[in-house]
């Protein structure tokens, strides 16, 4: 099962050429800012409909263009290839996708900061998994974010209270759905963490919980609305919505202590890697397909043990993997196809 090639049009700086991909490992080498990450981003969007680092479609269109298009034939198990196609226009914003959703996991250096970094990064991690296991999740999340922006704007302006109130039920409806799926993702991750962690850092007991934004007792729309009602005066004063998934955080502890404060840098990287590996397992279980793995310049960030763990992940089940790096001899031998990228153009290079 593999994407046989990728053709990107008007996507960032990528040249509009068909780039064949290996069914196992494809390696893309090049200096920074030449288009390596853009290529992986295009793959992730085409396969899974997820953007790297939560980029909006608007920001991905090449300069001066009205939209972008990504295409590639997906070869399933013993079938003829199916064309995958993602077409986005930006004025107004419209998306059209065809072909099966293919789970994909991306690793980038930023992901190693999952434990230490901002709550936003941890929410994005949850969203990447949630969006792939529930097709309704990303549309609901977008609707939630729109309701939030509208409501915050109404709170800040002198708009009538009734206008603020009109967005409340819509916020609560979308927000409680987002909460319910995030809860589900966290529960699934918890089940898989012990196994994954065993291979990476055998001594550590890791726990994760979702800290819901605000003080709602449960993830229901009723409690959400109750909180909006209760904190009405405070919200008016501060001009922002104080309850909801936009203030969620994933609380991570190791051996009973908060990992962002008490874990060493090495431990934090192991925990981050463990979360990513566990998410890969969830995607495989839910979709029944082996996720495509996209590794963006992560090898230089890892020490020997963790690099081996990642290499093992890559070779497991022989799933399709696309790796980018500035320069790397050791992966070079594993890759069936190699490209050098310069100014958005990928050229095949010999072994």
């Amino acid at each position: 099962m593999a994407l046989l090639s990728l053709t990107a049009r008007h996507f960032r700086n990528l040249a509009a050429e068909e780039v064949p991909l290996a069914p196992d490992i494809t390696l893309i080498i090049g200096p920074n800012a030449q288009g390596k990450t853009n290529f992986l981003e295009a793959l992730l969007l085409l396969l899974a409909g997820i953007s790297l680092r939560g980029q909006s479609d608007r920001d991905l269109v090449a300069w001066g263009q009205d939209g972008y298009r990504l295409q590639g034939p997906w070869m399933g198990e013993g079938t003829d290839p199916v064309e995958k196609d993602r077409l986005v226009t930006v004025n107004p914003l419209r998306r059209r996708e065809s072909g099966p959703r293919i789970p994909a996991v991306a690793f980038a250096p930023d992901d190693l900061l999952l434990v230490k970094g901002s709550p936003e990064g941890r929410r994005r991690f949850l969203d990447e998994v949630a969006g792939q296991i529930r097709p309704r999740y990303l549309p609901e999340l977008r609707r939630y974010q729109r309701a939030l922006s509208q409501r915050n704007r109404a709170l800040k302006s002198e708009a009538a209270h009734s206008v603020v109130e009109s967005f409340g039920p819509l916020l609560a409806e979308a927000g409680s759905y987002v909460w319910s799926v995030r809860d589900e993702v966290v529960a699934s991750l918890c089940l898989r963490l012990p196994d994954v962690l065993g291979a990476l850092a055998p001594v550590d007991r890791m726990e994760i919980t979702l800290d819901r934004g605000g003080h709602a007792a449960t993830a229901t729309a009723t409690d959400f609305l109750g909180e909006l009602e209760r904190r009405r005066g405070e919200e008016r004063l501060r001009g922002v919505t104080l309850t909801g998934p936009h203030r969620d955080d994933l609380h991570i502890s190791v051996n009973g202590r908060a990992a962002d404060v008490f874990a060493s840098q090495g431990q934090q990287r192991s925990l981050a890697l463990a979360l990513k590996l566990a998410s890969r397992d969830i995607l495989e279980e839910v979709s029944g397909r082996v996720p495509v793995v996209l590794l963006d310049d992560v090898f230089s960030e890892l020490d020997g043990t963790r690099r081996r763990a990642l290499l093992e992940l890559m070779s497991r089940s022989r799933q399709q993997t696309v790796v980018t790096d500035t320069d790397r001899e050791d992966i070079g031998d594993m890759a069936s196809l190699r490209y050098a990228v310069e100014a958005g153009v990928l050229r095949p290079v010999a072994r």
Partner: protein, 198 residues
């Protein structure tokens, strides 16, 4: 490269149209420049004539060239039901069902704080006045299922509660974020039948 000023002006004006990006605006501009002079002028005349003769109906605020509009003057329609929509195009879409026999009210937009649009920018006061002046049994809220359309429906339902008039909302037969005029007639009809009280 800069175009001669008249072409640049044409491109700039066209790119202000909804759904038209810079590339499309250029393509349209060159298409227009290559038309026979008579045809280009007919388009220009159509735009200015429509703009000059079309105004809002003083009753329902739909576009019309006679006031009140044909739908408001018709003796065949039920005065006791008013269907509230965001845009004139939604009236056209609803009329295609050939089933709805009541009157209309066009809001000309939806509540959107981000765009600075509040109830006072819509034909809401005019709706209240209509309801005060004539006997209406039911107000059907047929704003779109976009977030702003839903918020507008919630706003109106609360606003109308004290009047005691029955307020219903068309059901979601319409895709999330979808516009009424993109929805086929059967879907719209289902949505109309499945309306519920708010």
């Amino acid at each position: 490269m800069q175009y001669p000023a008249p072409i640049q002006e044409l491109v700039d004006q066209l790119s202000r149209l909804p759904g038209v990006g810079p590339k499309t605006a250029q393509r349209l501009a060159f298409f227009l420049l290559n038309l026979p002079p008579g045809e280009a002028e007919r388009l220009a005349t159509a735009i200015t004539t429509a703009r000059r003769t079309i105004r809002y109906c003083s009753v329902c605020f739909n576009f019309t060239d006679v006031d009140p509009c044909a739908l408001c003057r018709s003796g065949q329609r039920d005065d006791h039901v008013i269907l509230v929509v965001e845009q004139p195009k939604d009236v056209v879409a609803m009329e295609k069902t050939r089933e709805y026999r009541g009157r209309y009210h066009v809001l000309h937009g939806a509540i959107s704080p981000m765009d600075g649009i509040g109830p006072e920018d819509l034909k809401v006061r005019e709706l209240l006045k209509r309801l005060a002046d004539q006997a209406v049994n039911e107000v059907i809220l047929a704003t779109s299922s976009s977030l702003e359309g839903e918020a507008t429906a919630l706003y109106l339902s609360r606003l109308l509660k004290p009047t005691g008039i029955q307020v219903t909302r068309i059901a979601r037969g319409i895709p999330m974020g979808g516009d009424l005029d993109y929805t086929d007639e059967v879907t719209l009809l289902k949505a109309l039948e499945g309306r519920r009280e708010l």
